[in-house]
Amino acid sequence: MAAFVREVAKRVFAQEFKESNLMFKDGEDQYSPQYLLTPTGAKVNRLFIVGTLTETEDIGTEAEFLRGRVSDPTGSFLIYAGQYQPEAAQVLSECEKPAFVAIVGKPNTYTTDEGDVITSVRPESISVVDGDTRDMWVLEAAKHTLNRINSLDKDEPNIKKVVEHYNTDKKHYYEMVQQALQSLKETD
């Protein structure tokens, strides 16, 4: 019996998440976990996000299906919760907006008729947190993103896949991180 290993929740900024469109399966069978590979090389099966929930909309036609927007200093995440995420859906609909929220969730992608890939998050849990927690997340996401950018030259299969697919512009992501970090200076 192989020990069950819980997937780590990756820290990725909204802008990078939005610019991601490379999904892949780690293994052959139908139960193999799916991952989103981001432009800086985060291999994401689970995410941890802290940001500001700005709005929630019910876009369901029959059953309730909620779409929330959670923003960080670089952009916003789309959060979708329906009947299979009842606790998350309840927080999305009932909490007063705007609010700082922490979300643990799975990445999802959807390809539009035009061929664009839209990324979103299917929440496992959402909780209301405070501003300090949000700031700590920004710092943490910055640190993890910088580590990934600095590892983009590594001779590793997933990194090669990322560089080949996105032709990642490091400068673009350094600037994104810089912008996020500067926003913490301003709020002092």
Binding site: F48, D132, T133, L139, K143, Q178, K185
Partner: protein, 311 residues
């Protein structure tokens, strides 16, 4: 322990005396005694050993003299697969979920470290209790998933001793966001006999019992690179959750549902950052201290800003 293992052990002992007995012969004799004549395994081993001692003219005194004393081994030295040892250790944790072939599973420790133990159901040994010290005789070290454990089987014995052992474990520190609070957390009931958490009002060992209330949290901390599972006892749950066992009980009885306590704890704790310390026993860090991290480090911010400068 089955015939194969027992036969292997007898064979090994005899080979120390320069006698090579085919393992099948030993197994066959053991099998006959245990299956056909319903002799307990420990007795069968003794009997088969004595048979071969006579057969090969080895003096019992010499044979047993060199072998009777299974060594008393410190927990940190239990690193040899298949070695038979005696261990003096305190039971630190009994785990909830046991396979039906297992009677008890958990963690024991002494001043040198901790190790998982498995008491097999067919061993028919008495139950052990948490926080009590025992002399475990004739137990065998096994390797499972690249980790060592001790197996208590038919030939093992357990004797409670009136002695408290100071556990030597190196404390670990872990930080991260609380990304999950696992089921079995919150307001729970434990068996008054053995302290195990009840499942649907029943103890896996003692059946339906009048449970004793307790509070605990099984939390998952995630730092973006690794996950840590942490076990918080009542005292720490009360502290970090700003709740008491009494207030949790009244919350539950007002709502007619104990799960409101878990909901409350999730709402209060999830998504925030914590630093914990405590010994790590197999999967779980047994938390001794927990603090919320509420502010980032300004110096770290400046360092990151410097390293994010586009060159």
């Amino acid at each position: 322990m089955d015939e194969k293992e027992a036969a292997k052990e007898i064979k090994d002992r005899f080979s120390d005396f320069g006698v090579d007995i085919p393992q099948e012969d030993i197994e066959e004799r053991l099998e006959k005694l245990t299956s056909k004549f319903k002799v307990p395994m420990s007795e069968a081993r003794r009997s088969v050993t004595n048979y071969f001692l006579k057969e090969y003219n080895i003096s019992r005194g010499e044979f047993y003299g060199s072998q009777t004393e299974t060594p008393l081994v410190n927990v940190k030295d239990l690193v040899e697969d298949g070695k038979w040892v005696n261990v003096k250790a305190k039971v630190l944790q009994l785990w909830d979920n046991t396979h039906e072939s297992i009677s008890q599973v958990g963690i024991v420790g002494d001043s040198t470290g901790t190790i998982k133990f498995v008491k097999w159901a067919n061993a028919n040994l008495p139950d052990v209790e948490e926080n009590k010290t025992y002399y475990f005789r004739n137990v065998v070290v096994g390797e499972w998933n690249e980790k060592f454990q001790i197996n208590l089987n038919k030939t093992s014995s357990i004797e409670e001793i009136d002695e408290d052992i100071e556990i030597g474990t190196s404390s670990v520190t872990a930080s991260g966001a609380m990304v999950d609070i696992q089921s079995g957390s919150g307001l729970i009931k434990r068996c008054p006999e053995c302290n195990r958490p009840l499942s649907k009002g029943a103890c896996p060992e003692h059946g339906k019992v009048e449970g004793v209330y307790d509070l605990r949290i099984k939390a998952v901390l995630d730092d973006g690179e690794s996950v840590h599972e942490a076990l918080l006892n009542r005292e720490l749950t009360e502290y970090i959750g700003e709740i008491t066992l009494e207030s949790a009980k009244s919350m539950a009885s007002e709502a007619l549902d104990p799960s409101v306590v878990l909901d409350y704890l999730k709402e209060k704790l999830m998504g925030k950052y914590y630093t914990i310390t405590g010994p790590k026993l197999d999967r779980y860090i047994l938390v001794e201290t927990i603090e919320q991290q509420s502010r980032f480090d300004e110096n770290e911010l400046d360092e990151l800003i410097a390293s994010a400068e586009v060159v």
